[in-house]
Subunit: 216 residues, 2 copies
């Protein structure tokens, strides 16, 4: 009903700082690909802060970008962070509220954040983040040097990433099975609507196909 995959949860067993890329598991990649926003936790002089940020991934690296990133990394350009992506798939209603739950898919990535400084990697990362939800980097106007310089991109290795997925019905105590209460699951789904063009759109400008494809 609930399974965990990827790196071991006992963090101390991991060789931190070992310079070896570990490809993320299929579950980790699938959940990251399905999500839209990452919740990024970082320790600051004012305490822990968790903020939503846009993201994208390669086979071994998670890239983050957001207006919040700058403030979050003010404490230093390299910091330990935790990045969590969660999709809620349903409300699980058991006979006992104690066993109520959610169906969900979640990935937790922990590690040492690296500020991306090379122009080539910044450009690559921005394309990856922009194309994460739907490919649209190629249909935008070309990025300027000024924009690239104003952009903070953070890289996090997917070495220490694990996925947790819960699905299926409620798991009640044996004594409650067949009881008089209703029990089951209310599924939750997300759907993309029709693109809404901006007011000053040049008449006849087509919506890029990947943005239309979101509705499938």
């Amino acid at each position: 009903m609930s399974e965990e995959t990827g790196a071991p949860s006992e963090r101390t067993t991991l060789k931190r700082g070992a310079n070896r890329a570990v490809y993320a598991s299929d579950d980790v990649k699938a959940v990251l690909d399905a999500g839209y926003v990452a919740h990024v936790g970082v320790s600051t002089a004012q305490g822990i802060i968790v903020l939503p940020m846009a993201y994208g991934r390669t086979e071994d690296t998670l890239y983050l970008h957001g207006s919040a990133a700058n403030a979050m990394l003010r404490a230093g350009s390299d910091t330990d962070i935790c990045v969590t992506v969660t999709l809620v798939d349903g409300l699980v209603v058991a006979r006992s509220a104690f066993h109520n739950s959610m169906n969900y898919r979640s990935v937790v990535v922990r590690g040492h954040a690296r500020k991306v400084t090379e122009d080539v990697e910044i450009l690559d990362a921005l394309k990856i983040i922009t194309d994460h939800v739907a490919d649209n980097w190629d249909s935008r106007r070309e990025a300027t040097d000024k924009e690239l310089k104003a952009t903070l991109v953070i890289a996090l290795p997917l070495t220490e990433a694990s996925a947790k997925i819960r699905d299926g019905g409620p798991v009640d105590d044996e004594a409650d099975l067949g009881g008089p209460e209703w029990a089951g699951v209310i599924p939750l789904t997300e759907s993309w609507g029709e693109p809404i063009p901006i007011d000053d759109l040049v008449e006849g400008t087509p919506v890029p196909q990947p943005l239309l494809d979101l509705q499938d």
Copy 2:
């Protein structure tokens, strides 16, 4: 286009530890009520961890509960935490990828987590958390003492809570307005499906009305 409400973001200006309840702003309450899962960040001996947890709220308190809670609070029963709830409402596509964004509603609550120890408050909090998505506490079988003792509930004051909401279209540089690229918003919506009963349901058991009402 983007607005922030609630407590000031300059955390150090807040009187921490002041024993005075501050009611959360309407925006904070509305976003908390609309969300399903909170991302809870806490500092542990093994570093920062951010985990998804179920939650509920009163006028001045956020209650958290989850199987993960125990491990997260192992470092001590009272800890500074950060709780963030985010709803994604759309993909904002600008002429320049640099100005791409998301429409979203987000609440960040920071503060000192308190382990709830009184039976009466634990029971109240569990009802609040259980009823957060849809009222169903009253249609479950009564909680046992054993269940209450096995439950870890955390309370966080809503004193230091702020909401951030972005909506509307992309905000491009003036030079890009009227450009040849498509620009606009792809809205994202969530919807609850039809309740799926568990296999051993007694025939004819009705679905509680609040669970049916989710589909409205």
